[in-house]
């Protein structure tokens, strides 16, 4: 009994020592080539001000899902449209077809087999996904109560590391990382990191900001 308590206490001491030694690394862990932004509130104002000028976005995207433990990845690509204030269309064209349109509280999803219409208000998860997507594009993500955010920068890019607060989102994401172009404050890359270590990155290319996009693009 005494020996067991002693071994338990030795194990505990070892864990405490390991945590103590690793803690500086954890505290200062950040992204290579980026430095932390000290004055988040002025960045937030600037981010909101610049993003508010983006009325529409048209873009191509390439998505890469990496299953780390299985050394597998799948790459898909498609088109993305956004129109202020709450219209989004995401269309995967390769190597499968899949369409998602969000227009206010309504959402439509079309895959190979079926078309589904959902009232976002009726589903908490859809509601959160919808809000995150709109917040990211509109520059209001820093106000979101769904995440705590750290901000970093290099010469050309801001990096926003968002850690989910709610249990529901924490199940899906460990962090979501946004890379924002300093030139026009548009999102270049979204990286979704899952608790399992798998990642999905979406790279936006051929971005066109503030061009005319017909409302018909977002018809449900």
């Amino acid at each position: 009994m005494y020996r067991s308590q002693e071994s338990h206490s030795r194990k505990y001491r070892w864990i405490v020592t390991a945590c103590f030694l690793l803690s500086p690394m954890l505290t200062f862990a950040q992204y290579e080539g980026y430095k932390s932004i000290a004055d988040i509130s002025s960045f937030k104002k600037e981010f909101q001000r610049e993003s508010a000028e983006v009325l529409s976005i048209q873009s191509s995207f390439t998505q890469e899902k990496v299953l780390t433990a299985l050394t597998e990845k799948i790459t898909s690509s498609g088109k993305f449209w956004f129109k202020r204030s709450n219209k989004v269309r995401i269309e995967y064209v390769k190597p499968f077809t899949y369409l998602m349109v969000m227009n206010g509280d309504k959402m439509m999803v079309r895959d190979n087999q079926k078309e589904n219409r959902v009232n976002v208000k009726s589903n908490k998860l859809f509601q959160q996904v919808n809000r995150i997507m709109i917040d990211c594009v509109q520059g209001t993500i820093l106000d979101s109560k769904d995440f705590t955010t750290r901000v970093f920068e290099n010469d050309r890019t801001y990096l926003l590391e968002m850690t989910p607060v709610s249990k529901l989102l924490r199940e899906f994401f460990q962090t979501i990382v946004l890379k924002v172009d300093k030139k026009d404050y548009s999102v270049n890359l979204i990286e979704m990191n899952e608790p399992s270590g798998d990642t999905t990155s979406i790279l936006f290319t051929d971005k066109k900001l503030n061009t005319q996009i017909s409302d018909a693009v977002f018809t449900l």
Binding site: E72, I74, P95, D111, K114
Partner: protein
Amino acid sequence: MRCLLFSSFLAGLMSCASDYRNLQVSPADHGCAEKTVPRVLATSWYNASVDVMGRHLSGLLLVKNMPDSSQRVVFTNEAGITFFDFGFSRQGDFKVYNVIAQLNKKPVIQTLRKDFELVLGIPFRKGHYNRYVFGEEIYFGVKQKKETAYFITNKDCASLHRLEWGSARKRKVSVQFPGTGYPAPDQIELLHFTFNMQIKLSRIHKE
């Protein structure tokens, strides 16, 4: 009225009839069994469409052969979020690597486990089958607890027709591989007969 009662009685009797009542036990035929026994599916990504109890779900399904001869089955949505990640050892042991809370319920996991065991042909790996004949088809059955897994071929053993899970009386699940490419089939169709569920998989040809 009498006619209606009689036809209802007949319909009742028909619904009680066993799906496997007419299977005739026949001598073992190792040549035919070896030729048509389900093979290990090749590593592939599939476009998945799932209909269960009136609800529809789509996504991507990965069947991956691991270096230790185990297999992993991973389902993600199109945006890349993983819904489940199951492992099947060569001997048929099952492991849940990852599952979202909404699906983390024993009946759901057990159903998916049995479904993918059949798709992967795991019950047939021990190599001892009972042979039955019914009409123009040959059934090779492996009994597992209260259920039997069958792989079914035609009389000349030319090709694998389908796979089934069945209880003593009822057909419960069938799996077919329409199209070409087996053991990297272009299509996989799984259908449940005791409740409303079907899974359709179309192989993704990566560029």
